[in-house]
Amino acid sequence: MADVIRIEHLVKKFGEFTAVNDVNLAVKEGEIFGLLGPNGAGKTTTINMLLTLLTPTSGKIFISNMELSKNHAKAKLLMGLMTQETVVEADLTGRQNLDLFTRLYHLPTAVAKRRIKEALEEADLVEFADVKSGKYSGGMQRRLGLVKAMIQEPKILVLDEPTTGLDVQNRTTMWARIKELNKRGTTIILTTQYLEEADQLCDRLGIIDHGKVIALGTPSEIKRIAGSGRILEIVVKADETAKVASLLKSRFGIIATVRGDKVTAVLEKGKESEFTKISALMDKERITILSIGTHLPTLDDVFIKLTGTGMRDAAGAMAGGRANMRWR
């Protein structure tokens, strides 16, 4: 399938801070593409450049084979955006909200009228169309936000952390809506810091950290980076982690990663049976095991393997980088 978005050698610097560092990506028509990374990794900065909110320091972006910097107006009609903060005009009614955006997108009156009607029906807000949207519930505002982002019937929908802060039920509903939109032909590019979201929703994803794309592929391709076997995870007292790691290395030849009180390592395919031996050895060495187990590789394991830190840790450490960005 054709690439609907192509990003080439994209760089964005804020003073000394490089938020996006030579990013190359292509999003295929009709897919759900995820940009996964901790806070401050450069996801939102990349998205903002895509949406023409920021001018790249260098590099090029193509939307439907048009170079973005030369075709702002046309490209903007092809893209809709929904952000983690639900942005509705709280003082305006649902209908006025939609009407405002048909005007901002310069839709002809007849088209605008049709789209407003369709959008209200789609968001299940016909009854509340003339109520101030500030009085809507959180879920209603999200629905309004989504149909508002789609008012000009864009080819591409950009979702910037669409489910951050949502409860489980609303998150599942949002996923269903995203899949539904995608089924109808909308290409979706979304950013997320939730691994399970990327895993569930995305056809392909890119992991981004410190402004660089460090892995790119389908979720299963990416998980294979962590190894083809199983992941061993042992939790012990923090002062015994080093001992566990050295035992694993000397007795089994396994290289382990230590994070806090957790020792993780990959058990390659065919060596899964060593789990029992490792367990027995720990017992023999009188190491107090708080928990021990194995699981199939997850994106978190990939992240640990690629960056040496987990998503959560990285999120905390990187939060400071955000201050340099004008747009949240």
């Binding site: 949406l51 920021l54 903007k76 952000t83 003082d91 949240r328």
Partner: protein
Amino acid sequence: MSLLGDSITMCRRELLIFMANFRTNFMRTAIFPLVILIFFSFLGASVTNTPVAVVNYANNLQSNQFITALGTKSLINAQVYPNENAALAALTAGKINFVVVILPTFPSSTAGSPAVQVYYDNVQYSVTATVLPTIQQDAAEFIGQGSFQSQEYLPSSTPVASEVATPITGANGNYEDFLFSGVIGMIIVFGSIFSGGIAMITDRLGGNIKSFLITPINKSAILIGRVISGAIQSIFSVIIVVIIGLLLGSTIAMGIVGIVWIVILGMLLSIVMTSIAAIVAARLKNLQAYTIFGQAIGLPLWFISGGIFPVTSFPPILQAISKVDPLTYAVQGFRYVILQGSYPLTSAFADIGILLIFGAITTIISILLFKSTID
């Protein structure tokens, strides 16, 4: 689409939001004129011991009784001068504020010559407004229906400009009317600073501006729409303040035509002030900081404009600063309309021209700053 079309779209949005919060906006606009006009004008500023020169050409029983009557007023510190020239010289020098000339025919008057002639400087408007009626009242006890004349004394060396800067002839010439002009100006200044600027910051923090920027509209339209909507909202503010002022007993000497002038000046002032608000809001990230800046800009602009005291009563340095305060020109225009009852076209063109220049400069700066902030 054109910049104009996009600006109208944005302006429409602002006005819809304004209408959605109509009650709040009404209260915000009405509360200050009510409080200020009631407190400042009805409590009345007290004036004591105003130096008054008396020239007694009649020198008869009645004239001496009149002088004694003046002397008993705490408001007045009467001093007798030998002749009119000496008294007028003292008035010019600023040693006294009034000259009361008792003419030889006192207490009766003849055609062409009044019984009492009063000259005053108009440096402190509130003083004139309080003392002059007192003198007239005292004189009336002696001269009855006889002729009493008063006029502002302008030495020939005084430039005409300063004469028109403080028009005195008014509908009923009291401090309330004087303050009325200042309050109209103040409502527009603070309305623009607080509604325009705060909306800009909340829109930016809430992500609304971002949601506009991803659409293919002209970026400048976001700002221009806001400025136009501010100007339209100022019509509403002017009408509310005028109604309150009239209900509280103020008058507009020029009548309905005067209200049209007030609306025009008010809209121009609002364009300047909304742009200034946008300039300040462009770089500020939180509302608290903006509120402080808003006060710090709005209050001095109001004080220096002559809204509360006549500009001519300021020390020279403040008079100079008042020349670069856009509010000065609007208040000056309001005062012609409200107090003098006529707005000479030359003055109108000057005031409106200066406000237009201010408006053009501030709007351009605010657009440039806005564009650089969002990129």
